[in-house]
């Protein structure tokens, strides 16, 4: 018989066959692209004003926080402003992945109930959307940095591996939280508090070196801390990031990604009865 044969049998607890899962995911990569595109179009980010809002929103935010810094500490400079903007933009990449990812599975209810496909595509698409929202802000930052007159160095290229780590972290977080939201639908309402706390605990309004040593122990539990510090060092100060920070943030990202994905993959076959 030449027909494609599919066999469905009871699964053991744990992961589905990863090879087959990956093949099925890879064959549907156009879905991720198409989904992100239509989602961005639906949110009007394909228009000029939509793009402007994308850039304007974090710029206004960084402006507000800049005033806050001046008022609280009494002084500030352009490097500080560049640091604030750069870290805020990267922070929003992670935060947008979380807010987009949290409802990705529950919002895909109709699709999940009616079609067999690797469910991980849904949080994956949320992260792709967050990346598309992040890219124009990066262009704005580079323009701003030039206007501020900060020198460009080769060391700035260290920002690329840092960005890749950030994307992996964002992906892991989005996958984990989208799965948790299936079981506890009110996670989405806790999320603003979570991101707000992360924002203040991360070296955005201040620089990592300025932090009191006693507080640094708390920051061991913030995956964004070493990440944003490396990002700022590379992109704003033009320095090589601390290798320890790079490694710690990589460990966080890989750890969260593996745990989140394992959790998601071992649970996704019952999403259809949980929605």
């Amino acid at each position: 018989m030449s027909n494609p044969l599919q066999v469905y049998e009871p699964f053991r607890a744990g992961l589905p066959p990863l090879g087959r899962y990956w093949k099925s995911l890879w064959s549907r990569r156009t879905f991720v692209a198409e989904y992100s595109r239509s989602e961005l179009r639906e949110q009007h980010f394909d228009s000029v004003f939509g793009q402007m809002w994308l850039v304007l929103n974090p710029l206004l935010l960084s402006g507000v926080y800049f005033f806050l810094i001046i008022i609280i500490s009494g002084s500030s400079d352009k490097t500080r402003y560049a640091h604030l903007t750069a870290t805020l933009f990267l922070f929003y990449l992670v935060a947008n992945s979380l807010t987009g990812g949290v409802k990705s599975v529950t919002a895909g209810q109709r699709l999940i109930l009616n079609t067999a496909f690797p469910r991980i595509m849904l949080p994956l698409s949320a992260v792709v959307i967050a990346i598309f929202k992040f890219l124009p802000t990066m262009a704005v930052f580079l323009v701003m940095r030039t206007i501020l007159g900060l020198p460009f160095d080769v060391e700035m290229l260290w920002a690329v591996p840092v960005l890749l780590i950030a994307i992996l972290l964002a992906l892991g977080l989005a996958i984990a939280i989208s799965c948790i939201n299936v079981y506890f639908r009110d996670i989405a309402s806790f999320l603003p508090y979570l991101t707000r706390t992360l924002l203040y605990l991360s070296p955005i309004l201040y620089e990592a070196v300025d932090l009191k040593p006693t507080l640094k122990t708390i920051e061991l539990f913030n995956p964004l801390f070493p990440l944003l510090d490396s990002w700022s060092r590379a992109l704003v100060h033009g320095q090589v990031p601390l290798m320890s920070n790079l490694l710690i943030s990589l460990a966080w990202a890989v750890g969260i990604f593996i745990i989140g994905t394992y959790f998601f993959l071992s649970r996704e076959r019952e999403f259809a009865v949980r929605l």
Binding site: M1, S2, N3, P4, L5, Q6, V7, Y8, E9, P10, F11, S24, S27, R28, T30, F31, E34, Y35, S38, E39, E42, A107, G108, Q109, R110, L111, I112, L113, N114, T115, A116, F117, M121, Y183, F184, R185, D186, I187, F190, R269, E270, A272, V273, R274
Partner: protein
């Protein structure tokens, strides 16, 4: 891929269901929350319920067959369709599917109501594993069959339930899969569309395709099916000639209890 690429001989097995059992745990709350869970901690009230949806079901569907599936609400009809479509993994037994499956389950396509009908058709198709070109080549036909005209580019939240069902049916009936599963979708839409979709079903009723229709419209099933399976509380009660099976089912509905139900198989 979804489109039929192989030719099948009549009486070749399309779907083979062996000793299928399906048990799952579901949340009692429609919207389970952390808050509710925390509140229930002290009281020890249950948050989940175990549902035995299918029990020892054996069913073969051959190419050339149009199988009607009947049964009361909660009989496990939709669960059986979802297992065959690969959406729900079985708890016991084994399901073999020879060919591509397209599902038109009760909820239909269109998972994102703020996107247009067009976007939803594309996304649904891509998620089901079709390629862009494949959908491109079918899209015109889908749009025409659904008679949505300009509304195809309007957000789906503006659709009426009839429009929704029309689009869903058009997608499922146009991609020409080897095995088509239609779950209670014929009953929506106006009389004209109902007739049109019924004609389409009859058109699709060819030798190299297998159709599974889940419906409560007995007259329709008597008309189009050449085989009917009756499910009750997750068990297959009777399977065979449409008129005979449907008569038995209707008699059971009136009596409320049948000898066949009490028998432990």
């Amino acid at each position: 891929m979804l489109s039929a690429s192989n030719t099948h001989k009549t009486n070749e097995i399309a779907v083979s269901v062996r000793n299928l059992g399906l048990t799952y745990t579901t949340a009692i709350d429609r919207r389970p929350t952390l808050k509710a869970r925390a509140k229930a901690l002290g009281r020890g009230s249950k948050q989940t319920r175990v549902i035995r949806a299918l029990d020892q079901v054996n069913l073969d569907v051959e190419y050339g067959q149009v199988l009607g599936v009947i049964g009361t609400n909660g009989a496990g009809k939709s669960s059986l369709m979802r297992v065959i479509a690969g959406i729900l993994p079985p708890t016991q037994g084994r399901v073999e599917v020879y060919g591509s499956v397209s599902t038109l389950l009760a909820l239909g396509v269109g998972f994102n109501p703020s996107m247009s009908g067009r976007d939803n058709v594309y996304l649904g198709g891509l998620a089901a594993g079709m390629s862009r070109d494949e959908i491109d080549s079918h899209f015109e036909e889908i749009a025409n069959f659904s008679e949505l005209e300009d509304a195809i580019d309007a957000p789906m939240r503006t659709y009426s339930s009839g429009m929704f069902a029309r689009l869903a049916f058009s997608v499922a009936a146009t991609v020409r899969p080897d095995i088509l599963i239609v779950d209670e979708a014929l009953s929506t839409g106006d009389a004209k569309f109902k007739e049109k979709s019924l004609n389409r079903i009859k058109e699709l009723r060819s030798d190299d395709r297998a159709l599974i229709l889940v419906s409560h419209a007995m007259a329709t099933l008597r008309d189009v099916c050449n085989d009917v399976a009756w499910l009750h509380k997750g068990k297959l009660i009777q399977r065979g000639e449409p008129n005979k099976t449907i008569d038995a089912y209707q008699e059971f509905l009136q009596v409320g209890k049948s000898a066949a139900i009490d028998e432990d198989v």
